[in-house]
């Protein structure tokens, strides 16, 4: 196949995956509707309801498989072939893939299928956002991105993002469940707040070291190679650091009287908010970030071999000379 065909194939794959997730979501909602008046301990009598739950999981699994194929195709569509992490659209379809994958894998070991409605809704919404708002052509990687660290850095960042996202969904459920006295329906079937809190903690405990590796080890090593300094206080770096600090606070909060439970869950959500703001927001709000790969923020900035303004004797005056288009430094 030609690159153009691979690209079309990849789009079709992402659409197919999104449709599968959407159907899974519908099946989950159908199951929820069927469970509306069923008490927690009761077995599901209605065959159709039980079927809908199983069908939803199967659809999710198919969605993950198709999603993976679409990701690989995206990489094959580039010339030369590369990992599909060159712009925000590609980051987002990779991030949602990891969220869906972690969920599907977790169902093997953990009793976590009740999280399906939330996960499928989130993934469908994020894929739609990626498609409508972030889509970008398959472009060759600029020099600065062309490094083995791209794979290591992005894989770890995306994996931890996936884990934190699922942790955040669990924390939302925890907060809602803790206030709820429902005896039937979805909330009643969700495990006890204690269990939700623990599951959420496990997701975060998995995500945090991976995030540390991505942000504080591979990031600085690569930044040193590509930009000449291992920490630049680039807006993306600042927010990755903020996310790290907030999740560190979350882990401490779980061991502090007065912060356990509700406050810790709120901290986890604050962490997720900083994480996603960093992932998407920074690219649109910050014009100075060297991580701005989104089309909206100016594609030329991703040509990271920056133009130079060398303030020789009078830096003040040079600033006036080089004008607004000038990228960093």
């Amino acid at each position: 196949m030609t690159d153009a065909q691979w690209e079309v194939f990849s789009y079709q794959g992402v659409i197919a995956a999104a449709v599968l997730y959407f159907l899974a979501m519908l099946a989950y909602f159908f199951e929820l509707a069927g469970l509306r008046s069923v008490a927690r301990d009761e077995d599901v009598q209605d065959q159709r309801t039980a079927m809908a739950g199983r069908l939803a999981l199967v659809l999710s699994v198919f969605g993950v498989v198709v999603h993976l194929v679409a990701l690989v195709a995206r990489g094959l569509a580039a010339d030369p072939n590369r990992v599909p992490w060159g712009n925000m659209y590609e980051f987002t379809i990779s991030g949602t893939f990891v969220v869906a994958l972690i969920f599907v894998l977790s169902t093997i070991k953990l009793d976590i299928e009740w999280l399906g409605p939330l996960v499928s809704t989130f993934v469908v919404a994020a894929l739609m956002a990626a498609f409508l708002g972030l889509d970008d052509a398959v472009l060759p990687l600029p020099d600065a991105l062309n490094s083995p660290w791209l794979v290591i850095h992005v894989v770890s960042a995306v994996i931890s993002t996936g884990a934190f996202t699922i942790g955040a969904l669990l924390s939302v459920l925890y907060l809602v469940k803790a206030r709820s006295s429902a005896t039937t329906g979805y909330l009643a079937r969700v495990p006890e707040p204690k269990v939700l809190d623990r599951l959420s903690y496990r997701m975060h405990a998995f995500g945090f070291p991976v995030w540390t590796f991505a942000v504080l080890i591979t990031g600085p090593i690569w930044a040193h190679q590509a930009w000449g300094a291992y920490w630049n206080w680039d807006p993306k770096e600042v927010w990755a650091f903020i996310t790290w600090v907030v999740y560190a606070a979350y882990l401490h909060a779980r061991a502090t009287v007065g912060w356990r439970g509700r406050n810790a869950a709120i901290l986890a959500l604050v962490g997720a908010a900083t994480l996603w703001f960093n992932f998407i927001g920074i690219n649109f709000f910050s014009s100075s970030s060297q991580h701005s790969y989104a089309e909206g923020a100016g594609a030329e900035r991703s040509v990271v071999l920056r133009v130079a303004a060398a303030p020789v004797e009078a830096p003040e005056e040079v600033r006036v000379v080089v004008g607004a288009d000038h990228p960093r430094r």
């Binding site: 060759p140 062309n146 945090f208 779980r254 061991a255 502090t256 009287v257 009078a314 005056e317 000038h326």
Partner: protein
């Protein structure tokens, strides 16, 4: 307090609690109380959140040491706010007093927390597993059964089973019970993580105090060399304790520079695969070596790294003055004003020209074209491509005092127009020259001639020395190792008690206590079940009761 509660409350000292201020205090008690507050977990948490909050402004407001250009623009646009922002250090958040205050307090809090815990841990490491609580079956994970075996046999087997599971086992303190504990490394990981944070900070501090970062614009060609000493840099940012003697005595020149311009596709016009071919010597008179300097592939000489971070054009201009003498000849660095098309701005000065000084100011277009508006009318000239396919330099002419004679510093990129006058044509329009390579223009008023000989390239090279970077990296790696230990190692205690009952049978109680805050009941129940199974293996004992957290909830 029952002994059960004692055990449950005896978590590792994670729970350093802040306490309210007592009423009557002398100075010493107040200091003690303050220290306790500062090193309490709650304070550490608040400081962490403050640190996160304090980092935000730096990502929103332009920062002096990151993008000084943006700062000056911001100052121009907000003349009223800028002084206030200045007073609040908002243009250099990460070096500001208040940001430093937060992380220094956090570090003090951390040290104040870690040091006592080191002693606690040292004692805990030597301590034997504690005695069994009186009522084992009241513990969350516990079970009991009766058997015909002698209590001694059961306890001996329990000790073996626990040892084989790598528990530290204590059999001698009690006659009828075995205590065991494992997972000591969790706290070790925890301590390692926090100590490593300090190591990272030290590494970063060493780098910013003793290191330096400098930049130089290097014209391509063997005629233009750089040797590593202070005078050769265009910009130089040393740490406050930097000592110029540590600068390695290397030198280099750029023999060639290549760029691959994409000519098709969505990103046509983008440049890729920059290669600057360096010829360098690590010390004066040393052997000359070659290196292909590329993005992501810095050259390391000793402790110094050399990076390729930019490129641009330097038109070669020759100025003959009114007396026919060559007063200026050679490449002049023009700075790109557009990162895509490499339209560049520059200044050529000939202060020694006779009869009058000559100053040129203008724009270089690598690939010249006239812009057109929607109706097809010619608009502003522009460069349409970054590569030098059809270069043109367009300059205006100034004479008079260019301000370079008085010895004060002036930028080679700026024409000082205070005492200079622009040369105008007869119709009153500014005199402008548009030159292609090889073109010569005769200046009016017998000032001389200007020749555009051709185009040279230059590279911006960044040179930095950041000592302590490996310390910082090692620190983060240690922190990660510690983190893994503190998150995934589960400290837990197990007890097995066996007592002869009145009817001659033996009642065996087994209990497990998870001491990690992220305990996992499923795993706990499984471990308990394994121990019980290995105790019961040889005989068919009857379980009498069993409790687990699952049933409780």
């Amino acid at each position: 307090m029952t002994d059960l509660q004692t055990h449950l409350d005896q978590r590792s000292s994670d729970d350093r609690q802040a306490t309210s201020l007592p009423n009557d205090l002398n100075a010493r008690e107040l200091a003690r109380w303050s220290w306790r507050q500062l090193t309490s977990m709650r304070t550490a948490l608040v400081l962490l959140l403050l640190l996160a909050l304090a980092a935000i402004p730096g990502s929103v407001i332009p920062q002096e040491d990151i993008d000084s250009l943006a700062v000056s623009q911001w100052r121009d646009n907000h003349p009223r706010l800028a002084p206030i922002w200045d007073r609040l250090d908002l243009f250099s958040v990460y070096g500001s007093v208040w940001f430093s205050a937060i992380y220094i307090l956090l570090m003090i809090s951390l040290v104040g927390c870690i040091i006592p815990r080191l002693f606690v841990y040292a004692r805990a490491l030597r301590a034997r597993p504690p005695r069994a609580p009186r009522h084992l079956t009241r513990l969350p994970d516990s079970t009991a059964y009766t058997t015909d075996e002698a209590p001694e046999d059961v306890l001996a087997r329990a000790a073996d089973a626990l040892r084989s599971k790598r528990f530290r086992v204590e059999t001698s303190t009690e006659a009828d019970a075995v205590s065991a504990e494992r997972g000591y490394l969790r706290e070790a990981g925890n301590l390692l993580f926090h100590l490593a944070v300090i190591v990272v900070l030290v590494g970063v501090a060493v780098g910013s105090l003793f290191g330096y970062k400098g930049g130089v614009i290097m014209l391509n060609g063997e005629d233009y060399g750089f040797s590593n000493n202070l005078t050769q840099y265009d910009d130089f940012a040393p740490g406050s304790l930097f000592d110029p003697d540590v600068m390695e005595p290397f030198s280099f020149s750029i023999t060639d520079f290549q760029v691959d311009w994409l000519t098709e596709g969505d990103r046509a016009g983008m440049a890729r695969e920059f290669v600057a071919e360096l010829a360098y010597e690590t010390e004066p008179g040393g052997e000359t070596q070659d290196y292909d300097l590329r993005v992501n592939h810095p050259l390391t000489i000793g402790g110094t790294d050399i990076f390729l971070i930019g490129h641009g054009y330097a038109p070669v201009i020759t100025i003959r003055d009114g007396e026919g003498e060559v007063t200026k000849s050679g490449p002049v660095v023009f700075l790109p004003t557009n990162g895509q098309t490499f339209e560049s701005f520059g200044v050529v000065k000939a202060p020694f020209a006779e009869p009058e000084q000559i100053g040129l100011e203008g724009t270089f277009y690598p690939t010249f074209a006239m812009g057109r508006d929607a109706d097809g009318n010619l608009t502003m000239p522009a460069s349409v491509w970054g590569d030098a396919l059809d270069p043109l330099v367009s300059m205006s002419l100034w004479t008079g005092d260019l301000g370079v004679d008085d010895g004060s510093a002036s930028s080679v990129y700026v024409l000082d127009k205070a005492d200079a006058t622009q040369v105008l044509k007869d119709d009153g329009q500014p005199f402008r020259m548009d030159l292609r390579p090889g073109d010569t223009v005769t200046l009016p008023d017998g000032l001389g001639t200007v020749t555009f000989e051709g185009v040279q390239r230059w590279n911006k090279i960044q040179i930095s020395r950041s000592p302590g970077k490996l310390v910082a990296l090692g620190g983060v790696v240690l922190a990660l190792v510690g983190l893994l230990g503190s998150l995934f190692i589960r400290p837990r205690r197990m007890w097995v008690r066996a007592r002869r009952q009145d009817d001659g049978t033996t009642r065996v109680e087994v209990a497990r206590l998870d001491r990690s805050s992220g305990g996992d009941p499923e795993d706990g129940a499984a471990e308990l079940a394994e121990i019980v199974a290995s105790l019961q293996a040889p005989t068919g004992a009857q379980p009498t009761s069993s409790r687990s957290r699952k049933e409780q909830s």
